[in-house]
Amino acid sequence: MRSVREEFGNTLVKMGATLDDLIVLNADLSRSTRTSKFAQRFPQRFFNVGVSEQDLMGMAAGLALEGKTVVAATFAIFAMRAWEQIRNSIARASLNVKIIVTHSGLSDHGDGASHQSIEDIAVMRGMPNMRVIVPADAVEAGMAIEAVLDIRGPFYVRLGRDAPEVFDGAYDFEVGRAKRLLDGEDVDIVAAGVMVSQALSAAKTLKAEGVRAGVLDMHTIKPLDRGSLLQSAKKMGAIITAEEHNVIGGLGSAVAEALAEELPTPVERVGIRDCFGESGGYEELLTKYGLTPEEIVKAAKRVIVRRR
């Protein structure tokens, strides 16, 4: 496991040195989100607005209107409290604000259901002008943050707390281009976030059982890499999606929508089955809510039977 939020803080410090107009805003969670690292290094370009997420988004909009590159950081669930401010004050005018959130999915495990964000991908990708990135691990998070800071307009970058390492080092990350991690023949696992690492272990298990499963890291949920997805659907004829999110409205839905329009293909969605979480250990919760390699393996076996 490696801390994704540490990487977030470190990347902001790195980018702050070259991007003079980078401003970081926070709503009283700078220590938890690790934006405190940026605050220490660039105190003049860091503002804490206190426990007020609506105000956070509005202030970000104002700074962006004057040409600043703005990062607005808080926990995923609390950013959603200001969804309408993000829509009306930021996305409507396509302002240069990067909403970078931590503690998404079940990763704020101990704090319980109130702090766990399992609907955010659904509501953020439904917003015009907004792009949605869900990095697989700390390395990819760093690359994703650098990439979005380099592209004008609004982004939602969804980070967890800790994630098993998927990447040894940087690769040529590109927004909107999925990363092939494993080639397969029988079925493809399209995953995002912490579920990328779960997909890789599921693929190992499947291989031992004679099923050649591929893994596609779909770090950009919107705009979805339809090209890679269609290629995969054509070759395999069966797709599994895996995400640390409700099965309604997230990556699974995005994939199913694209395939329904372009190449109807059997899909099995691994995710939280439309229920709230609870307090517990992270691993425990991932297991209870079906976010495990075992669930992916089961889904693979179901979908292969239905293969096109």
Partner: protein, 311 residues
Amino acid sequence: MLDKRDIEPEAEEILPRAKTRRPPIESSHLAPAVRALEERARTVRLHILNMIHRAGSGHAGPSLSIADILVALYFARLRHDPKQPAWRDRDRLILSKGHAAPALYATLAEAGYFPVEDLLNLRRMESPLQGHPELGTPGVDVMSGSLGQGLSIANGIAMAGRLDGKTYRVYVLLGDGECDEGQVWEAAMTASHYKLENVVVIVDCNNMQSDGSTEQIKSKKPLAEKWKAFGWRVFEINGHDFYDILLTLDEALEVKGRPKAIIAHTVKGKGVSFMENNGDFHSGALSEQIFERASIELGHPVKSSGSERSR
């Protein structure tokens, strides 16, 4: 971090003492300017009614109540240039009560940001004059429409100005009904915490909101004291008295180190007797008959079929 300068004398009045020392308008050098502004505001009101009549919908009452404040700002106090809407050093104006867009558009057209004839495209598809302000309309600094969001944006703009060493001021027009929104108070705290002295809020206090009087729906009283308690320097004015508006705007700028709020007591529907304080004219269509009666009251009958040229 409280230092001595932040502590006001206990007897600080909400109304600044300077107000009582003002010369009467008749002997003020501002008298001719005030007369010209009154005439301009009458024209703006006629535009507002014509626009809403033609569009078939819009918020007449809330637009009429801020017409005088907008005219005072754009014709006498804002540092702006209609030839260069994106001038970096201009003063900004945020119409946080975005439903009063017709008043803003009419004032911007009169100021020369776009032709007066364009006003008749209000709420038409693909027109820059959308039902609520969008970026891209010449002179519109900030989009709005969903209440309560303007002050947070103003704070961001003011913060950027401070970082960039700019001296522009950021004026925010809020409705009193809008002060129900929690975000207004989040932002009020932020502005005083960061001592954003270039932020000036003007609350259009017409005592009415969509569903009825502010007292019936949700009392804002005591509104001036609320702003004061949030760390703002507060002024109260008659929002239809240009002399009061101009002098108070000037006095507000003399206050350093904190944001300023001007509580402007206004009348919803101001200028048309049967619209004043009448909730029926909060929003909706204005019939031919209503429009003609209102135009006659404003002393300038406008044939709704013809184009409005009152300059």
